[in-house]
Amino acid sequence: MSFVNLTDICVSYDGKTNVLDQLNIAMEKGELVSLLGPSGCGKTTTLRVIAGLIDTVGGKLMVDGRDMTKIPVHKRNFGMVFQSYALFPHLTVFENVAFGLKLRKLDKSTIEARIKEVLEITDLTPYGNRYPKQLSGGQRQRVALSRALVIQPKLLLLDEPLSNLDAKLRVNMRTEIKSIQKKLGITTVFVTHDQEECFSISDKVAVMNGGEIEQYDTPENIYNRPRTEFVARFIGFENFIPLTKTSDNHYLAENGNAFQVVKQGDEEGTLATIRPSDIKITPTNGESRNNEIQGQVLVRTFLGNSYQYDVETSLGKMVATGPCDKVHQSGEKVTLYLPEQKIVLV
């Protein structure tokens, strides 16, 4: 039995269409699991279901062996950090963080000790007497985090906590969050639409689309082996080529080109895709070997550490990137080689 189990969760706002339909996901204790996807995919809804802020129409939520489905929000003991931080403007940092502890009827010295401890962890010790409006965005974020952590929650729920910070701060904060999470061993659910942020700190990622989970796996597996077209597109795969299977590991494209693919598992899919950076682009060699496509460069764009080529081929437009020391011109005839281990079938 996993630490967190969502079984067949259904959520509907208007009684007709289901925003979440038969959602299932399991998380282990101490894991940092991310819900990743575009806006409207249901990731925030799922988080709020776990928090208890949204009622389900069906399904069950189990946490640490206990059925939490019908338990009201304020009894769940899950710490939550909101995208807007939701700090209490009329209370100081100290009072904000103490809020949850005071409700648990702890004595004064325990409260002060715990707050001191958590403010040290989040590097906020000198700010105890400030009011939220006197703090910077990054500081407010850390107050929100402290407030959620200090109640020693069973789960930590983070709803796009870094979206409102500038790029540099975002990168710093995500490593801080990860290290705090690991140190305290707290099971965490992290909602974001930023793929890089998600992959860098998660133990497991659930890529969501239209209220369903498309793929639930480690970041490495998702990165290297997307299972569906949606996931592949989301994480940066391009060049989708429909293929038909001729024999084991051998496929044929519509224009007659033959492809050999090395499969990782037992993928049934026949839509081939590959990252632009995995395609090897060379001046045309006039031959036609396996896994090769002939084409002509349409546009060349400079990306800084590489060049991107939009290439017109008999299989449609393809995108490939190449190193800066081997530049190809617009209009040049080229050969695109797709290495068999780099092709993914979805």
């Binding site: 304020h74 710490g79 931080y85 403007p89 409700l103 409006k133 959620a148």
Partner: protein, 277 residues
């Protein structure tokens, strides 16, 4: 041209205001403190007269109680409205506005019908045998208070709804995730953040009660006068124009002091709270 134009546009309004507001007010107030020489005797005499003081104190008393009761009734109602869905909210807001746009005569008249000797309450009490004699509910401080609360409660509600709507929902949700049930969330989060609205509403109710005329006139009559009915009586029945002016001046000064005082309190709170930048 730049400098002149705005003044040209403002002049008609300014002239008319001076003519119809500043000048008339000065004309009635100056004589109360300047009788050939500067003297505050009129005011000292006013406050030393027991009859006058009774009216003044009654006015203050009723205004304070009206404000307090409006808070007690207004806060939960406004909170309820602010948590409603869009459709219900606009209906309830419209319902709250309706009394404000209805004539004060109508609104006070309703209570004559209810509280009078042959009114709704007394008819019910006597016809069911609970009482033999009808109660004297009208022309008492009680009837003035009820009428005043009836008059100003909508203002308190509308003011508070505006303030409460500005409190972001996720602040309440955050409190809930930290262990606060709905009541605690209300008391510890919504209420403190609504205080500016409560202050504004209270000032409106208090100063409104202090200066309203129709309600005290219809529901208090000459037996229980408030400052406003006192002015009218002095001016029109007794012909004591200086006396009327003195009362008017006291009313204006009291209103001014209360408003300024409340502003200071509101400012102080603002420094503590305030929204996220």
């Amino acid at each position: 041209m730049g400098k002149k134009l705005p003044w040209m546009l403002l002049t008609p309004g300014l002239v008319l205001l001076v003519l119809f507001l500043a000048l008339p007010l000065a004309r009635i107030f100056l004589p109360t403190i300047f009788d050939g020489q500067l003297s505050f005797d009129h005011y000292i005499n006013f406050f030393q007269d027991e009859y006058n003081m009774r009216i003044f104190v009654r006015t203050l008393k009723i205004s304070v109680i009206a404000a307090l009761i409006s808070i007690v009734l207004g806060v939960p109602t406004a909170y309820f409205i602010s948590r409603c869905g869009k459709a219900w909210k606009s209906i309830l807001m419209a319902l709250s506005m309706f009394p404000l746009l209805t004539n004060p005569v109508v609104r006070s008249f309703a209570w004559i019908v209810i509280l009078g000797r042959t009114g709704v309450i007394n008819t019910f009490l006597t016809s069911t045998g609970i009482l033999q004699q009808p109660l004297t509910l009208l022309y008492t401080e009680f009837s003035i208070l009820v009428g005043t609360i009836y008059l100003f409660l909508p203002i308190m509600i509308i003011t508070l709804v505006g303030v409460m709507e500005n409190i972001e929902t996720d602040i309440v949700e955050a409190a809930e995730t930290l262990g606060a049930n709905k009541l605690i969330a209300f008391v510890k989060v919504i209420l403190p953040l609504s205080v500016p609205g409560i202050i504004v509403g209270s000032v409106l109710v208090f100063t409104g009660s202090l200066t309203a005329y129709t309600t005290p006139q219809l529901l208090g009559g000459n037996r229980n006068m408030m400052m406003s009915t006192f002015i009218y009586q002095r001016a029109m029945s007794v012909g004591d124009w200086t006396g009327a002016s003195v009362i008017a001046a006291i009313m204006v000064v009291t209103t001014f002091i209360v408003m300024k005082g409340m502003n200071k309190v509101a400012e102080k709170l603002d420094r503590r709270e305030g929204q996220d930048a």
